[in-house]
Structures are given as structure tokens and as C-alpha cells.
Assembly symmetry: C2
Homo-oligomer: 423 residues x 2
């Protein structure tokens, strides 16, 4: 029979045990922090009626989204983010949901893009949102969660850049920039990190903005938040000021927060506080971003839900932690391998194994009475830290030999002490 | 703007927080048992080159599988099970994998079927497999894991039915059933649970099997395993006998194992020991099934991997546990709600909340100074067991009032004792 090449699509990935151990560890840490702050999980379907996914971006989205007609001629699409499915779920279920509603969602999403470095067709997102309140406590809580997540994962030099869209709009107004041009201006300012200040000034001048240099000077964050606040103090800074006060009450160290009046976030989706997390230790771009939005469910219903939420870029976080060598010591599950000395010792080995399992120690038994060297090699390949040998000598004395694989140190102890020794 | 109906496809589901709490609990328990036995997680892509999914069943599978051409005219399919993607992953990576290779995989799969009760288009499977060994210890280990999983989840009256495909073939041989007819006969016998003994006998007679009644009498399990072994003892029962001996060494109580010579499992995929788990407490059919197979990767490569594995029917397990009322007390994440007495008490409430979070207590703060009755209602809706009130009186004395929502009992205690009181 002709063999089929065991390939996968570009931009998708197989996760082998070593990858998964790391990914599950990171996901578990993120999940536990979300849960500590009272967020509950939801999950939405992968195969969706296409209009519930593509409504938002209409024709343009079709090219970037996996969509197809199924055998029953239903038009199906796979989600490209978690916000649209969340909005759909809220529109369908808001009467039964507690309000405010705090949810988290960790799922795969798909983009029909040409895969290239850092651009995948299939990847995970981790979203949290609070909807149904306009209180700025919600914004501060989300900031606190971002700090807790990045600290817990081992990030040190990270910063949450924060701005108020209302403030930015007011500043643009003061430069007599007409409302219909403000989105274009904001999108241009948003390129600051990528192209630098001079280029942005030139782009702004090209589209007719006068005093672009002066504007960019005003928007540039100062060396500390206090100075930045002072610089823009003639504008209405009540929103961003209250946000910072709440963050203080949440015990967020100020070093993690940077008031950045130039932060624009391209989407016209955000209406209040917006944030993005970057790290100075490497250049992966934004690790997490989001903000306050209005009218989450506008596509689906007339109910008006305001909320605040952020999406953690799970794949970038994994890459960053790898680069920081934070994942080097993440091992696989087995802590102990019980070897099989010879055919006669099967019963002893199985009984030792059962005892370990009963004691809750992640462990395994080798399936064949291969040469011990081969069994040790298997333990090394799986990074199993301890190997137990129970040959005829040990069996006679009701003993086991425990070998620590890292040091090669061996100890023969009484069977009764095995579990406590390993624990 | 015209609103889009916030609907989902039939046979797919939204999981709200109450559903997800239960599902994550069950998944976590299953996952931890797999890990205790030294299985490591893998994950495979959702969007796959269609030939790597459909190769196995060719044209027939196309109708039952979600498959489509993407914008680049690539033929894509979504996995209908976890075995085919696992085989593909092994074929692509076996040189780097430890052998024997023990993996678990918990992922969604898709079937393009007409949805009906118990038949979904999108659902989870949980698979474990050991490949690269022919040792019967592997079969016994998988049996042990099945017992641990169902016990841990709260099942009591469950049974693992076990048979040896080799034995069944030998018995069919002794009835002079020609090799080319044996698969048809096995598939007929496999209907036993659904249609009953008499119907199977008639169907066997119809396809020309002589002494069908006698055959079915021989295959029927006796009241205990010992009697069943005795009845078929003139055949080669070495495989099934060794399996039972290993199970004993694994401390599997005999009540959970039933030697059932009639167990056929429709697929011609299984070559040795096969099993299925059923429960007498309800009629959901098989909760878990699998067995020994040869040549896992035959579709993809010439390497010959024998293995043994089972798939846990996650969705059926959830339904069964629901029916058994085992999931009634599964709550959401928040344990404590910190209320907001009035605008002046925001700082106190946030500081109390920060203290709880710091202490690792899953909790949340209410975002607005609504009437306390409304805040209590929110706590009830989210099943939050404790509510903290810190009004002006409490604040003055550095105290908090803790209300237990279930009993209505209230206690005012010093702030210093709050965390220890709640823990």
C-alpha cells in the first residue's frame, strides 16, 4: 500500500510530551490566577455558523478566516479570536448570567494567513473579561491580574502601558483634528513602537496634521508617571487618575505601570482605559493587550454591555519564557521507573509499582525484562529522576535499590521505607 | 443594523461556567490519574491535511468527516478521532520518542453526522495508549487505569468486560467458520448487547452458521470468571489467563473484571486483549473501550508499532455522573465576595480583597456600591459561600463582618483574623 506522508499544515504544530509539559504548566498557572480573582471558565464551539464569526468584519474577514460549506450546505467558520464567540454567547445567554459577568476562556483560534515567523494558522488565546459594569475598579482588577500572571510566570522587566482613549481624543481635539480624521491619526500614532517618533511625525504631517512634532512631544511618556501626569494636567485626566489610585489600592507596584499618552491601540473598539504589556528583555512585541469597550454584543442584540478585557498572547508568552530559560527544568510526569529485573521478578516489580501508585507518586513500571542498561536509558530519555531495581538479592531481603539518575547515587533500603524515602 | 442571531450549530455546545466547572473537574481528575501512571500529554492540530485523516477509511469517511478546501485549495479535514492523528504523530516522530511510548491526549473531535440524542458533531475524547511493547503488563496497566479513573470519578457498579481476540478466533475456527466469514460473524456477535441473544442466534443462522445456539452458549460469560475460564479451557486461554494474573498483581479487585468470551468489538482493528467498560446503574452503553492492536502506523510508514489503548467517552461520562448526582456540589471559583458598602469604603474593600488574593483565597470584590441586597443576590447567583461586609462601623474598629450565605450566620471579627477564619 502506498504510504501517506505524515505531515501537518504549515502554521500548525504537533506538541510532543516535552512541549506539552511546558504548555500545561503555563496554562495551569494562568488559569489558577484567573480563578483566584473569581473568573469562571466558558468554552464555545470550534465549528460555528459563519455569520456569527464573520459578521464583524464582513467581506474582509472572509479571507483571513477558515470558512467553508459543509455537506449540508451550511456555511461554517472557525473562530479567529475569542471576543466574537464570547459576545455571541453573552447575547444568547445574558438573562441567565450573573452580572457583572467575569469569564475566562482558553481556546484555540485560527487565522487563514500565510504562515511566517511568529504568525501561526492555529494557536491558543487566553482571554479574561468583565462585562456589565462601568466601574474603574474593573480596569484596576484586570491590571492586577496582568501583574500577577507575568510575575508568577517568571517575567521581571515587564511594563503595562496604560492610556485613556478619552484623554487621547481630548488631546487630539485640542489640536483641532476633526473627528472624522481622528481614527487615522490614532492608527498612525499606534505605529510609534514599530517605526519610531520621527517617522510618525512625518506621516502625520503628510496627512495634514499641523504641529505634529509638538503633539508627539506631548504624547511621549516622561521618565516617571508623575511627570507625565503633570504634562497633560490641563486636560481631563480624571479617568486615568482614578485608575492609578485604584491600582495603588490593589497593591500594584508603580514600576509595573507606565502612563503612556501615546498608547493608541489601532482598533476603534476601545473607548476608555486601554493597556498593553511589553517586556524590555526581548523584542516579541505585545504580550497582552486590551481595554474598556462599549456595546460588546452590538452585532447580535440590542442589549448594551460595556466591559473591560485583555487577551494574553499565549504563544508569545511561551516563546518569551523559553528565551528566558524559564522552562528548562520542566520535566515529564514520571518521577520513578520500576525496572523489571527478569521474568521471575514481574510480581515483585508490579507490587512495588502498585505501592508507589497507591502512594500517589507519579511512576511507571518497565514492561519487559530487557537489560538494565536499556531500562536506564529509557529512564534518561524520559528524564525520570529515580529508578528502582528489585533483583533476586533485594527480593530475598525485602529490599529495593533506589538509583538517583542525576548523581548515579544508589541506595539499598527496606521496602517499608521506599515510599517515605521517595517522598 | 440588522442583528445576527446568536446561534450555534446543532450538535455543538456552549459551555457556561456551571458546565465548565464540572467538565474541568472531571478532566482534571482523569488527567492526574494518567499522569500518576507516567503518561505524558501530546496535542495534535485541528486543521489537518485531509489525506492524513481520511486515508484510513477512504471515500466512506469523507461523508462523516468535516473536510473542505481552503483559500489556497488545500484539502483540509478535522480529526474524527484521536487514534489517526496519534498514528500520524508517531510515524513522523518515532525516532525521537522514548519506546515504549505512553501518551495521553484530551482533545475535541468532529463528526459530520446528523445530530441526535447522544450524538454530537463536536465532542471531547480522552485517549491513552502504550505503544512499542507486546508485554501483557501493558494491557493490565491500562485495566488498572480504567479502574482508578472510574472509582475516582465516583462510579461504583462498573465492570470491565475483557476478551481475547485470539481466543475468539480460535473458538470460531473450532466451529468451522471460514476465515473470510469471521469478521461478519464477530460483527453479528457484537450486537449482543443491543438486540439480545435470540436475535443474534437467528442472524448467525441466517448467514449460514451451524450450531449458532451452541456457539452463543459457549461464548456467554458464566456467573464468575472461574466458571467462564473452565468452560473455554479446552481452547488456548494463555493470553487472557496471564492478563488476569497481572491484573491481580496490580491489585485490581476481581469484581471489576468480567471475562466475556462474547465480547467482540466491531472493529477488525483489535488483535489481542480487548475491553469495554459498562455500568449497571444506567444505560448509556460503553463508557470506555479499546484493546491491543498491531501496526498502528501502517497508513503512514513501514515501522511496525504494536500497542494497547483505550478511549474514554468523556461526554457519556459527564452525562452518567450527572445522572448519578455526583456533580451537584461542584461550585464555581469564588469562595468570598467582598461587598462595597458605599463610595467612601472603596479603599477598605480593595484592601480587604487584596489581602484575600494574597492569601490565595479565590475571591472577588463587587464593583459598585449597590444596595447590599443586590450584592448578596449576586453572591447567591454565583454560589459564593461567604460574603464580607465592611461598613463604617466595621472600618472604625478595624473589623469585618463575614456572612455564611448558606446558613445566613453572621460574625464580626477583627481584620487580623479574617484570613485564618476563612481558611
Amino acid at each position: 500500500m502506498e504510504k501517506i506522508e505524515p505531515k501537518i499544515l504549515k502554521g500548525t504544530r504537533d506538541f510532543l510530551p516535552e512541549d506539552m509539559a511546558k504548555r500545561l504548566l503555563i496554562m495551569g498557572k494562568i488559569r489558577r490566577i484567573f480563578e483566584r480573582f473569581g473568573y469562571d471558565a466558558i468554552e464555545t464551539p470550534v465549528i460555528c455558523p459563519a455569520e456569527t464569526i464573520l459578521g464583524k468584519y464582513g467581506g474582509e474577514g472572509e479571507k483571513l478566516t477558515y470558512n467553508f460549506r459543509d455537506a449540508g450546505d451550511r456555511w461554517i467558520a472557525l473562530p479567529f479570536d475569542l471576543t466574537v464567540p464570547f459576545a455571541r454567547l453573552v447575547a444568547a445567554n445574558w438573562r441567565d448570567l450573573p452580572m457583572p459577568f467575569k469569564r475566562y476562556q482558553i481556546q484555540r483560534v485560527w487565522r487563514a494567513e500565510k504562515p511566517q515567523k511568529g504568525r501561526l494558522r492555529e494557536f491558543y488565546q487566553c482571554d479574561i473579561d468583565i462585562i456589565g459594569t462601568k466601574s474603574l475598579i474593573a480596569e484596576a482588577e484586570i491590571a492586577k491580574i496582568m501583574v500577577e500572571v507575568f510575575k508568577e510566570l517568571g517575567f521581571i522587566n515587564f511594563i503595562i502601558k496604560v492610556n485613556s482613549r478619552r484623554l487621547l481624543n481630548e488631546i487630539l481635539d485640542s489640536y483641532k483634528i476633526p473627528k472624522e480624521q481622528s481614527l487615522e491619526v490614532i492608527r498612525t500614532i499606534d505605529k510609534l513602537d514599530k517605526v519610531g517618533e520621527q517617522a510618525v511625525i512625518e506621516m502625520l504631517e503628510e496627512i495634514g496634521i499641523k504641529k505634529a512634532k509638538d503633539l508627539m512631544k506631548l504624547l511621549k511618556p516622561e521618565k516617571d508617571n508623575k511627570s507625565t501626569f503633570r504634562k497633560v494636567s490641563k486636560f481631563n485626566i480624571k479617568e486615568i487618575d482614578t485608575f492609578f489610585k485604584y491600582c495603588e489600592k490593589f497593591d500594584i507596584p508603580e514600576k509595573y505601570l507606565q502612563f503612556d499618552p501615546s498608547l493608541a491601540r489601532g482598533l476603534d473598539y476601545y473607548t476608555g482605559i486601554s493597556y498593553e504589556v511589553v517586556s524590555n528583555d526581548f523584542n516579541f512585541g505585545t504580550l497582552c493587550a486590551g481595554g474598556r469597550y462599549d456595546n460588546l454584543c452590538g452585532l447580535f442584540c440590542n442589549e448594551d454591555f460595556s466591559g473591560v478585557g485583555v487577551a494574553f498572547g499565549f504563544e508569545r508568552i511561551v516563546l518569551a519564557l523559553q528565551e528566558m530559560n524559564e522552562l528548562e527544568n520542566v520535566g515529564l510526569n514520571s518521577q520513578v521507573l520500576v525496572t523489571l529485573f527478569d521474568k521471575k521478578s514481574i510480581n515483585d516489580s508490579l507490587s512495588i509499582y502498585s505501592e508507589l501508585i497507591e502512594a500517589g507518586i507519579n511512576s511507571e513500571v518497565y514492561f519487559e525484562s530487557d537489560k538494565l542498561a536499556k531500562q536506564f536509558k529509557y529512564a534518561n530519555k524520559k528524564q525520570i529522576p529515580y529508578v528502582i531495581v528489585c533483583g533476586p538479592d533485594e527480593a530475598k531481603n525485602d529490599e529495593v535499590t533506589i538509583k538517583e539518575m542525576k548523581t548515579g547515587k544508589q541506595e539499598t533500603i527496606h521496602r517499608d521505607q521506599m515510599v517515605s524515602h521517595l517522598k
